[in-house]
Symmetry: C2
Subunit: 198 residues, 2 copies
């Protein structure tokens, strides 16, 4: 099996980083050989999430064609938001929750986008559909992404399935999503590292 890279969009938010990790884990369980990477430096919020669930930071790449022939995209599909040499690569899989634009392939692929609040919600469904168990720390990451994208269900993009996924992932990760979620969103505002003038 040829190795593939999995990544979210440039200027990655928490969903872009952890959906790549979760989808890579799922694909590897399904028999593929993938590595989750990121297309830019991580936010304070994402660092808090990875640290909390003892997950290493992903490698950051600028181009992919120097390493692999084909890639999987999460949390984006528009080529201008993707890796710089996306036009030279084969895209085999996409998981997303955004509008579709500026995306084209020569060959059929697996493209799954749903009108929900977070890519990690779609990936949660895919774990269930494939009967693959979600490890506690991956569940914690996915729960964090949904809290981040939906601002703890306050965003108008929130759907009932995002809430359902969060509750299920909260159980698996044994983490109170309300208490943890507020801490996480607070970490994202990065108060501690700001000067008083800010």
């Amino acid at each position: 099996m040829t190795k593939q890279l999995v990544f979210g969009h440039q200027s990655p938010d928490t969903d872009a980083v952890v959906a790549a990790k979760a989808f890579s884990y799922l694909q590897n369980k399904l028999g593929f050989d993938t590595e989750a990477v990121a297309l830019g430096s991580l936010s304070e919020e994402t660092k808090f999430v990875l640290d909390y669930f003892n997950e290493p930071e992903p490698r950051i790449i600028e181009t992919a064609k120097n390493e692999v022939e084909s890639v999987m995209l999460v949390d984006h599909n528009e080529f201008q938001q993707s890796v710089s040499d996306i036009a030279d690569l084969v895209v085999t899989d996409v998981v997303d929750h955004h509008r579709i634009a500026n995306f084209t392939t020569n060959m059929p692929l697996n493209f799954r986008s749903e009108a929900v609040g977070c890519s990690s919600t779609v990936i949660w469904k895919m774990f269930n559909e494939n009967g693959i168990e979600i490890p506690a720390n991956i569940a914690g990451l996915m729960m964090s992404a949904i809290i981040s994208d939906t601002l703890l269900f306050k965003s108008p993009t929130t759907t009932p399935v995002d809430v359902e996924a969060t509750k299920a992932l909260s159980k698996i990760s044994n983490t109170d999503y309300n208490v943890y979620g507020l801490d996480m969103l607070k970490a994202g505002t990065n108060l501690s590292s700001k000067t008083e003038e800010e």
Copy 2:
């Protein structure tokens, strides 16, 4: 719930017609109000299929905006293969198994494309994922579409899941897929209606 139209590509093949019927049935069971229509006259093969499973021919439309605001596409995504006024409509759902090109939306949507032999295979998975029972005649239609698109598994686009879906649908429709499939493909060659010179 506002009514929506569901249709496959222009110059419809069997999958384009029956995937629209199957997906419309599924969406209606999920609470939406949809009607399956076709974008052109039916092939001899498709007429044989609908006749065999006692299913009426779909209404043929030229434009959609005069009837509805939003539509669901099956068995295609490229706008030039779709209804003539596709650019003026909101696409809420796509189920497909082709490359993605010339497709764009302003809003998030449900887009499900898989690298399998037939759209009806993807729809079979979606029935199962949603726990919706497939009626015997709809199962017969979907089985016919897979046999048509894969030429009874002889096409190189055939995947194991197409075979699995065919066997499951064969059971539900109580139809031997080998015997029926050969009859159906023969009907598609339309020998009976051709003159000797052809």
